[in-house]
Each structure stands twice: as structure tokens, then as C-alpha cells.
Amino acid sequence: MLYTIVLLPVLFLLVLPVLNIVVLTFFDSNLSESIASMSTDLFMLLLKSLAISGIVAFISTFIGIVLGFSLYKSDIKYRNVFRLLILIPLFISPYILAVAWKDISVLIFDIDTSLFKKTYSFIGMILVHSTIYSPLSILIIGSALSNISKQMEESALLIGGFKDMFFKILLPLIRPSIITSFVLILIFSISEFSVPAFLGIRVFTTEIFTQFSAFYNHNLAMLQSLLLIFICVFLLVSERKRISNSVFLSIGTRGKEVKLYSSRKIVIFSYIILSFTIVFTVFVPLSILVYQSFRTGTSKFMEALSLLLPTISDSTLLAILGSIISVFIGFVAAYYSEVLNKKLMNLMLLILFAIPSTIFGIALIKFYNNSILNFIYSSFGILIIGYVGKYSFISTKLIGNSIKQIPKSLEEAAVIQGIGFFKRIRKIIVPLVLPSIFASFIINFLFCFGDLGISIMVYPPGTEIMPIKVFTIMANAPESLTSSMALIVFLVTILLISLLFFIFKKIIAKYNVNY
């Protein structure tokens, strides 16, 4: 029943707009012309984009394993501070980060060196994307690492050394998270437009954007997007197949104490690697922003503050609501998919996730912009629908991986005791997957709070939300004002995330779960 209650709104409010635009595309009189224009060059471009995004996903996931272990399994001090700092690249828009890194390159390198030129090309894109998406991998893998039973690791350590335990126990146990991280980041990277556009790299998304924005050919853009969706579905189905063959499913006792490694070597390594990453991905770009903001005094910072202050409350509320609904839908989709093998909602959310934001925005306009649904289209409701449609899949993946780790015997025992469905969910499942719920809430919040792609297409006239304000102002604003705005967005985000961490710590303590 719960599944149907959630599935119906997902179907009618989120999926139907996309189906509508797909049908419109296929019934368009220029369809054959559009199909004919999809040359082999386009498929080569898709392969090239896949290769670049594959490298990004590999690097980010590798960083995710190393830093995830350092953050979640080594016995370091100030763990929460490190966790917060390491998340920061996720707060910053890819576009602003690309601009910041380009400025850093200009400062550090001679403009004629090949290294400088490379930062404008593929290496630059890989660098920026890996910086942005590594925190995502750290969260996903870290969350899985904190779910591993202490006894498993200790038994392994009794038999073999740390190396054996790491490669033969720990890595296989978190394999689903590693694959999820790789696939999600690959999809994020291949769908991202602003960085390759800024760095002048032709990839598949810039091609879609060109059809959409230079030729106003919505149908061809939609057809090209369908290719992207196909690739994403293929990747996710492959991922599922890999996971279902994994030994991971046969074990797992969640809710036990987390094993922390206090060996001097591991702790020192963790401090070094975490500090280096934070300096490289946080302090360097942030220093540039601070320098550019205050180079000419504090006036531009104050101006930026007065511009952005009115947008904070609405943006925060929208992001919180979008995240809560996304996490709820994600939880329901994940539970029914993993426990009861009902995968339809999962597939729907995946397709929505894979559609480029601008195309999803157009789909929402075409569906909601009419006299009947105008009350949604002209209100914040359309933004929440956009966020939920675009980002719920992230929750499904993260929570789904955690649900997999819960032994079926726990729920079965509850069923034998005559405990009802909702009570089982509330008292057994939710407490056991709380860390993943929190991780997906944070990721969803960050994506909703910083969303530009959907928001720019559907934000109601006369309203102001933070990312829109930043990007509409920065079009011709002086560098100091632009940097000040980016800095304020960063400060507000870190404040909100700290607050969320604090609230969640209280909730976690109530349920006595380690995180």
C-alpha cells in the first residue's frame, strides 16, 4: 500500500512530464530529419565523453576509498571537522570552481607552458570534476565502511595482517558502494555541462546544449538526451548485476560498534592525506575567493551580503523540503526494490536522474504550464518537483545499499512476533539505515541548494533563490562581487551543514547508532 501511495505521485507528478515530452518528440513532424542528423560523429563524441567521465569516476572513487577509510576507520581526532571540510567542494558550483582553478593556474604557471594549456583541456576538466565529485564518493564509501561489523574485521585480523584484511575483507564488503560511487559519479560527470563549456571541451552534454541553446532544436536535444538516458540505464543495470553476484549480500550485521584503527602508521597517513586534500581542494580555491573578495576592501562583500540575504530563507526551505521528500521517496523505492523486489520506481527515478537538467526543465514547463496546473507552475511547488525528480535517485542508491546489509532474519523475527509493517520499518529498518539516510539527506540538500540547471528553467517570476541570484548577478559583475557571493554561499552552506550534522548527531545518539 505504501508503495502505491508513493508510486502514484512519482508517476503522475514526475514521470508523466517526461513521458509527455518523449511522446511529443516522437510525434514531431521533423523526427526523421532529427534522427538522420545523429551522425557517427555524435556516437564518437558519446564514447569520448564516457572515457573522460570514466576517468573522473575512477579517480574520484579511488580518492573515496582512501579518504573514506581515513575518515571513517582510522582513529583520528577532530573527525567531524575533517568530515565537514572534506565535503566543501560539493558546496561550490562546478562553474565557480572551474573559474577559480583557471585563475590559480594563471597565478602559478607561465601562460605559455603546456601545463597551463592542459588545464584548459581534458586534464583541467578531470581535475575539476574529480575535485567536485570525490566528496560524494567519500560519503558513499564512508557510509558503507561505518556499517561493517567490528567482529568481521577483528576475525580477519586474527587470521592475517592488516593488508589481507583490507584487500580480502574490507574491499569486498564495500564493493557495492564502490560500484555505486563509480556509476553515480560517471553519470554526474557525463551530465555536467558548465565545466567542459568553460574549458572549451566538446563533449556530449555541450552538444545537447548547443542544439538546445544555439539552434533551439528541442526535439534533437531530447533525442540526444535519450541516448544519454540509455547509457545511464545500461550502467545501472550492469551495476545491479555486479552487486547481485557479490558475496556482500550473504553477510552483514549492522548496528554494531565500528572498528577504528589506531596504529600510528594509519593515523599519521590519515592526517597527511586528509590535510593535503583539504589544502588542495578547499583552502587553495577558497583563498583565491577570499583574496578576490577583499582585495579592494569590504564594500563588495557587504554588497554581496545585501544581495544574497533575502534569498537565504527561501533557498534553505526549498532545499530542506526537496531533500526530505527525496529521502522519503528514495527510502520507499529502495526498501521495496531491495526487500520485495519491486523495481519499477527505482527505474523511474533513474531515468529522471539521467535526463539533463535543462531537458527536464522543459518537460516540466510543457506539462505544468497550463490553466489547470498553473497553481503549481507559478509557485515554489514546481522547484520542489524539479529537485525531487532530479535528485531522489541518489537517496535510492545510498539507502538501498544499506538496506542490503540488513540481515533478513531481523525483519523475519519481527514478523513472527506479529509486529506490523510500519512498526517494523520505524523500529528496525530506519534506525539501522540512519547513517545512509543522513548521508543522502546531506547530498540531496547540497544538490538542491546549489541547483541551477532546473531552477533557471522554472523558477517563478519575481522570486529569488540563491544560486539563481549568484549566477544572474555574476554575468557582468566585478570579480570582487562575484567572489564575495561565492564566498557567502560557501559560508551559508557550511553553517547549514554544521547545523544538520548537530541535529543528526542528536538523532543518532537517540537510536544509539555509530556513525
Partner: protein
């Protein structure tokens, strides 16, 4: 617990679907940078008491988000007035039958060349395409004076332009094709390519690269040039081809969106944007050149009388763009 959930759901619904109901209001979509357009719209609100609900565009989406939104909303337009930074985008909307023909008395002092012959759009305050250069890197004698100088070997890999598939650079190239003919224009573009021209992501990016000294010079708009001068003392500006084909002049345009009922408030804003007051405000904020004759100019703002304009028909140039867009895409991708 259940009561908390219910209250929460109620709050979501109230917040999410709350929208300001104000009959004395209009919706404006503008591609003009918010820093320049918002003060004008606020002033209109102050003077008339009509609430303006604006939608602005972003550099990241190449200022095409709004145009695509207008096209997608065609069957149930939300927008009343479209204020564009150039006539090309407006021409796209005219061709898609989205605009409403309106003749404003406020446009009487504006030259016919800056108006659509069918009155689907009217021009006001113009920008021009200019060359900005870094004074630390280029001596006065070395500064290009013609767009065709940019193919000179001494500027190899040191000139930036924005991606010609988007924004005013598209307009500039379409105008060039109109004025010098397809064959000569293609030869020129091939020479630019051979000279390793740098394709930046936007005019703002061109400005950034010149200010930071990554390139000697670049083509951009007068408002970007004005900002560059404010940001850095080492920036010089040249109106190219004053002894040749002239500089491209790009008026803002205002249009009404076709709806079941075009409101009087929309017409009021249309008239207001065409007024001399608006032109003076835009001249002060971003050095735009008034199209009304005899408007008193702020210090430092050039009059159109002092510039040799490129001789083009804006509607025909929009048509030319449609013909060369495929060529431009191939040109960019071949870089």
C-alpha cells in the same frame, strides 16, 4: 507523532504552493544582465506602483535559458514583456510567432533602423561590439584598428572571442557575413582559426582573460568593456573599422508577448523602457548609447553620432544567422 507529520505536510503545501496574488503586476523576462536591468525595473515599480516580477538569465546558460523558456511556454505564456539585450533573440521569437505587434508613441524619436518593420520589437539604448586590449601587453601602435587585423601573425594565439554559437558574438559574425558576403567572411574566419584564436566561454570570460593578461586583446561588448575599465586601469577600448565597415551596434529590444489579453501594465512598461529616462539610466550604469536624439549623455559615454555603425538590416541579419549557424558550429568544433 502523527500530528507532527500532519503539521509538517500542511506547512509543505502552504509554502510550496504559496504564490503572491497581485493583479497590479507584470511579468518580465530579460536577458540583460541583472546588475543593469534590475535598477531600471525597480524605478518603474517606484514610479507606477506596478509590481514587476522579473526572470533573469545567467552567463552559465549563455543567456539562452529565458529564450528556451519563452519557446516552451508558448501555449500558455507567463511572460508579459520580453526585454532582450540584442535583436537576434527577439527575431527568433518573432519567427516562432510568440510576439505581439505593438507601436509605442515613446518610440517616435528612435530611428526606423532600430525598429522591426512589423512592430514586433522596438530598439532602445545600444551597445557596440568593441575590442578591448591589455595596455601592458600592447603598445599603442600595435593595437588592431580593424577586425581584419586580428588575422595578423603578431596576434597569433593572443586574441580571444566568445563562442560564436551563442550571445552577441553570434550576432557579430552574422552581421559580418551580411556586410562582407559569405565567401569573404568564411575566408576571414579560416584565417582567424589559422591564427589560433582563443575561443572563450563568454564575453565575460573574454574580459577576464584580457584583464589577467592571458591574451593581448579580445572582442566583446561595450558594457563588458566598461566593467573591464572599472576593474583595471590597464584596459583600452577600440571601436574597430571606423575607416571601414564600421562597428556593430546592438540595441536592446523590448517586445510584448502574445497572449489572450495583453495588459495595459505591460504596455506601460514597454513605453517606460523606451523612454529617455531609461536610456539615461542605462548610459550611466553600463555606458549604453541612447537611441533618442539629443539625450544628455553622462561623462565618458559615447554618442552614436561619434561612431561609424556597421550598415545592417537587423531582421535580415537574423535570417542570415539561421543560414550560417551550421557553418559556425563546424568552425567552432574544428578548433
Amino acid at each position: 507523532m502523527n500530528r507532527t507529520v500532519l503539521l509538517f505536510l500542511l506547512f509543505i503545501i502552504m509554502f510550496a504552493f504559496s504564490c503572491e496574488q497581485n493583479t497590479n503586476s507584470i511579468v518580465v523576462y530579460t536577458t540583460v544582465d541583472q546588475v543593469f536591468s534590475e535598477p531600471v525595473l525597480k524605478e518603474f515599480e517606484k514610479e507606477t506602483g506596478i509590481k514587476v516580477k522579473a526572470v533573469y538569465d545567467t552567463e552559465e546558460t549563455k543567456s539562452t535559458g529565458i529564450l528556451n523558456r519563452l519557446i516552451a511556454e508558448k501555449d500558455n505564456p507567463q511572460c508579459d514583456v520580453f526585454w532582450s539585450g540584442d535583436p537576434l533573440r527577439t527575431a527568433v521569437l518573432k519567427n516562432k510567432n510568440i510576439l505581439y505587434s505593438y507601436t509605442s508613441k515613446a518610440a517616435e524619436g528612435i530611428d526606423m533602423v532600430f525598429k522591426d518593420k512589423d512592430n514586433y520589437w522596438t530598439g532602445f539604448s545600444a551597445r557596440a561590439r568593441v575590442l578591448i586590449y591589455n595596455k601592458d601587453l600592447l603598445k599603442d601602435d600595435d593595437v588592431p584598428q580593424s577586425i581584419f587585423d586580428l588575422t595578423d601573425k603578431k596576434y597569433k594565439a593572443k586574441v580571444a572571442i566568445a563562442n560564436p554559437l551563442f550571445g552577441t558574438t553570434t550576432f557579430h559574425f552574422a552581421a559580418l557575413f551580411s556586410v562582407i558576403g559569405d565567401e569573404r567572411a568564411k575566408l576571414f574566419l579560416d584565417s582567424l582559426k589559422a591564427n589560433d584564436i582563443v575561443i572563450a566561454s563568454s564575453n565575460g570570460d573574454v574580459k577576464r582573460r584580457v584583464v589577467k593578461g592571458e591574451v593581448y586583446c579580445g572582442l566583446t561588448d561595450t558594457d563588458d568593456a566598461n566593467e573591464a575599465i572599472k576593474e583595471s586601469a590597464n584596459i583600452g577600448v577600440v571601436f574597430l573599422d571606423q575607416k571601414g565597415i564600421g562597428s556593430l551596434i546592438m540595441p536592446n529590444t523590448v517586445s510584448l508577448i502574445k497572449k489572450a489579453k495583453v495588459s495595459d501594465n505591460a504596455k506601460k512598461l514597454f513605453d517606460y523602457l523606451l523612454s529617455e529616462d531609461t536610456e539615461i539610466a542605462l548610459a550611466k550604469s553600463c555606458a549604453q548609447m541612447p537611441l533618442h536624439k539629443g539625450v544628455k549623455l553622462p561623462k565618458g559615454v559615447l554618442s552614436l553620432d561619434n561612431i561609424k555603425p556597421m550598415n545592417i538590416d537587423y531582421n535580415k541579419t537574423a535570417g542570415k544567422l539561421e543560414n550560417i549557424q551550421g557553418y559556425l558550429k563546424a568552425w567552432v568544433e574544428d578548433k
